[in-house]
C-alpha cells in the first residue's frame, strides 16, 4: 500500500461531504413542452448537518430531492445530467439494485401528506417494519419488537396495541409520527424531509419539528429539510439554500441568511413572513407570478418580479461566494451594486 493510499484510508473523510450534488438538471417532458424543473443545482451536506431548502411551490426544491432518490416518475420526468455522490456512489448512475440498498436504509424520506403516504390497505405494523425486513436479516418477531420501540420513541401512545391498527385509525399528526418512525427505524445517515409539517395543524407542526430534532440528536444523522416556510428553517436548520425557478438563489448559514441577506428574492421571502413584520402592517406578497418553466430562461429567473432588476439580469447567472460559505446568484449583489441589509426594516 503506497503512502497516498494509506493517508486516504487513515484519514477520516472529513473533507468529503456525505452527499455532494453537482449540476443536477431534471426536466419533465410534457405534451406542451419541456419543463425544466431543476436547472443546474449543486450543493453538499456534511454528516450530521442540517440543510434547509426553501422555496415556493414550483421552485424545484422537492424535485431536487426526488431526483436524488430517483423517485421522479419517468416518463414524463427525466434526469438530464449531473452527479449526486453519496459515499462514493453516484446516485444518478446507480443500478436499481444499488439504489434499493440505499433507499430506506442509508437515506430515508418523509413526505408532505401523511394521509396519502401510508398504504391504507396495510396495517401500520406491516409498513413500519418493512424497511427492516427489506434491509436487515431479522426475524419478523424481532422486527415487530423494534417497530413497537420505534413507535414509542416517536411518542405514539399504547404502541404495542396501536401498531396493529390501519392508517385511517390515526390522526394526521400521529401518521406523520409513524412515517418518521418508519424512516428512522433503520438508523439512516441522511433523512430527507419533504415539507412534513405543511399538512398539519400549527401545534402539531411544532411537535413534529421537535421530534425530528430529538431523533437527529440521538441518531446523529444529516437532515435535508424541504419547506416553503422560512420560519421553520430559522429554528431548525444550520444552513439554508433558497431556490427559485429551478435554481439556487442564495445559500448561507441560517443566521447569516437572515442578517446578511444577499438576494432580493430571499429578502422578499422574509418580508412575506407575517411573524417577522411589525404588527398591523399589511401582509406583504411578492408581486407577479412564478416563472413558466416550460420557457427557457437565460438570465435570473426572479428578474421579472425583482425591484432591483436591470438589463444585466438577463445575462446567465451563476451562484458565487460573496463570503466563506455564503453564496448568491444575484449579479448585482455579487458586484456590490445593491446592499439589502440597509433597507431591511423601513
Amino acid at each position: 500500500m503506497d503512502y497516498a493510499m494509506r493517508s486516504m484510508c487513515a484519514r477520516p473523510r472529513i473533507d468529503m461531504p456525505l452527499l455532494e450534488v453537482t449540476n443536477l438538471r431534471t426536466s419533465f417532458h410534457t405534451r406542451h413542452g419541456i419543463v425544466r424543473a431543476v436547472n443546474d443545482v449543486s450543493f453538499a451536506i456534511e454528516k450530521g448537518d442540517t440543510l434547509g431548502i426553501v422555496g415556493e411551490s414550483g421552485s424545484g426544491k422537492s424535485v431536487t430531492c426526488y431526483s436524488l432518490m430517483r423517485l421522479i416518475p419517468e416518463p414524463p420526468g427525466k434526469i438530464e445530467g449531473g452527479t449526486a455522490r453519496f459515499d462514493g456512489i453516484d446516485l444518478l448512475q446507480a443500478s436499481p439494485e444499488q439504489l434499493r440498498k440505499i433507499r430506506g436504509k442509508r437515506i430515508s424520506m418523509i413526505f408532505q401528506d401523511p394521509m396519502t403516504s401510508l398504504n391504507p390497505y396495510l396495517r401500520i405494523s406491516e409498513q413500519l417494519i418493512e424497511p427492516l425486513l427489506i434491509h436487515e436479516k431479522i426475524s419478523r418477531a424481532d422486527a415487530l419488537k423494534r417497530g413497537i420501540a420505534a413507535l414509542e420513541e416517536v411518542g405514539v401512545p399504547d404502541a404495542a396495541k396501536r401498531i396493529r391498527s390501519y392508517p385511517h385509525e390515526f390522526s394526521g399528526g400521529m401518521r406523520q409520527r409513524v412515517m418518521i418512525a418508519m424512516a428512522l427505524i433503520t438508523k439512516p445517515e441522511l433523512l430527507i424531509a419533504d415539507e412534513p409539517t405543511t399538512a398539519l395543524d400549527v401545534t402539531v407542526q411544532a411537535q413534529i419539528l421537535d421530534l425530528v430534532k430529538k431523533m437527529q440528536r440521538e441518531l446523529g444523522m444529516a437532515v435535508i429539510w424541504i419547506t416553503h416556510d422560512l420560519g421553520v428553517v430559522a429554528g431548525f436548520c444550520r444552513r439554508v439554500q433558497v431556490m427559485y425557478g429551478g435554481r439556487i438563489m442564495e445559500r448561507a448559514a441560517t443566521e447569516e441568511l437572515f442578517q446578511q441577506t444577499a438576494h432580493p428574492y430571499t429578502r422578499a421571502l422574509q418580508k412575506s413572513i407575517p411573524a417577522l413584520q411589525p404588527k398591523g402592517a399589511a401582509l406583504y406578497t411578492i408581486p407577479g407570478m412564478p416563472p413558466d418553466l416550460s420557457r427557457k430562461i437565460d438570465g435570473c429567473p426572479f428578474a421579472p418580479r425583482c425591484e432591483f432588476v436591470q438589463e444585466q439580469c438577463g445575462q446567465p447567472v451563476e451562484l458565487k461566494n460573496i463570503a466563506p460559505d455564503h453564496a448568491t446568484a444575484c449579479v448585482r449583489v455579487q458586484k456590490g451594486e445593491i446592499n439589502l441589509k440597509t433597507n431591511e426594516r423601513q
Partner: protein, 298 residues
C-alpha cells in the same frame, strides 16, 4: 405524486378560456378518432338499414329455392340463405329491427332511469337510501331471467320485448341522474327556485331535468349497444323477435345452425352486429370521456 410535478392538465393551453362545457367536449371528441369512425359507421349503417326496406320492400323475403344457399357473388354480395334469400337485404332488414328495438328500449330505460334517479336524488334522505338500495339489489339479480319470464307470461311481441328490455336496463341511468341531480340541487338557481316557493314537482320538471339532459343523452348512447345485445341474446335463444320478422340475433342463430356448410350465413350477420356494437361503444365512450362524467355509486 407531489403537487409540484408538472402534469399535462396544468398546461391545457390549447383550449381557450371562456369556452363552454359543450365546446370543450366537442373539442375533445373531435380528437378521438375511434369515436368519430364509430359515429360515421353507425350513421351510414342506420341510413342503409332504414332506407333499404323503403327502396326495395320485400327483397329480404324473396325466396329463390332453385338458388339455395349460395356463396357471395356479384348478384348477391353476401350470398343467399338456404331459401335463396339475399343475405345483404336480410342483414339490413334485420339491422332495421335490431336498431329500432335498441332505440325503443333505450327510450324506455331512459324514461324510467331519469325519473327514478331524479326523484331519488332530489328528495334525498331515507327515500334515497331505500331507492338506491333497491337499485343495488336489482343490480345483483340475473335480470335477463326475469325478462324471459315476462316475455313468457305476457306473450312475445315486439312492443313487450323492448318494454321488458328497457325495464331492466335503467339502473346505471338512475345512478347517474341521481348523482347529477344531487350536485345540481346545491347550485344557486335551484335554491332560488326553492326560495321562490316553487313546488317540488315543478322544480324537478322545469329545472332539474333540462339540466341533466345532456348527460342523459350521452349515457343513452352507451345503453343502445347493451340493449341491442340483450335483444339479440333473446332472439338468439328464440325468445325475442319472432318470425317472419328477423333481427341480427335470429340471423346469427340461423347461421349457427348451418355454419358447417354455409359459414357466410353466420359470419356476415355476426360481423355487422359486432361492428355496430363496437362503433356504438366507441362513440359512447368517446362522448363520455369528452364530457368526463362517470357513474358512481355514491
Amino acid at each position: 405524486m407531489s403537487a409540484e410535478f408538472p402534469t399535462v392538465t396544468q398546461h391545457a393551453g390549447e383550449i381557450e378560456p371562456g369556452q363552454s362545457l359543450w365546446q370543450d367536449a366537442w373539442h375533445r371528441l373531435r380528437r378521438n378518432k375511434m369515436a368519430l369512425i364509430g359515429a360515421v359507421f353507425v350513421a351510414l349503417l342506420a341510413i342503409a338499414c332504414f332506407v333499404t326496406p323503403l327502396v326495395a320492400p320485400g327483397a329480404y323475403e324473396k325466396t329463390n329455392l332453385a338458388l339455395g344457399a349460395a356463396a357471395p357473388s356479384h348478384a348477391h354480395w353476401l350470398g343467399t340463405d338456404i331459401l335463396g334469400r339475399d343475405m345483404l337485404s336480410r342483414i339490413l332488414y334485420g339491422g332495421c329491427i335490431s336498431l329500432s328495438v335498441g332505440l325503443a328500449a333505450t327510450l324506455v330505460s331512459v324514461l324510467i332511469g331519469v325519473l327514478y334517479g331524479a326523484i331519488s336524488g332530489y328528495v334525498g334522505g331515507r327515500l334515497d337510501v331505500i331507492l338506491m338500495r333497491i337499485v343495488d339489489i336489482v343490480y345483483s339479480l340475473p335480470f335477463v331471467v326475469f325478462v324471459i319470464l315476462i316475455l313468457v307470461v305476457f306473450g312475445r311481441n315486439i312492443v313487450l320485448l323492448f318494454m321488458a328490455i328497457g325495464a331492466v336496463s335503467w339502473l346505471d341511468m338512475a345512478r347517474i341522474v341521481r348523482g347529477q341531480v344531487m350536485s345540481l340541487k346545491k347550485q344557486e338557481f335551484v335554491e332560488a327556485a326553492v326560495a321562490l316557493g316553487l313546488r317540488k314537482r315543478r322544480i324537478i320538471l322545469r329545472h332539474m331535468i333540462p339540466n341533466v339532459l345532456g348527460i342523459v343523452a350521452i349515457y343513452a348512447t352507451l345503453i343502445v349497444p347493451s340493449v341491442m345485445l340483450l335483444e339479440a341474446f333473446l332472439s338468439f335463444l328464440g325468445l325475442g323477435v319472432q318470425a317472419p320478422m328477423s333481427s341480427w340475433g335470429t340471423l346469427i342463430n340461423d347461421g349457427r345452425k348451418s355454419m358447417e356448410e354455409y359459414p357466410w350465413l353466420l359470419i356476415y350477420p355476426s360481423l355487422f352486429f359486432s361492428l355496430t356494437l363496437f362503433s356504438l361503444n366507441f362513440l359512447g365512450d368517446g362522448l363520455r370521456d369528452a364530457l368526463d362524467v362517470r357513474a358512481s355509486k355514491d
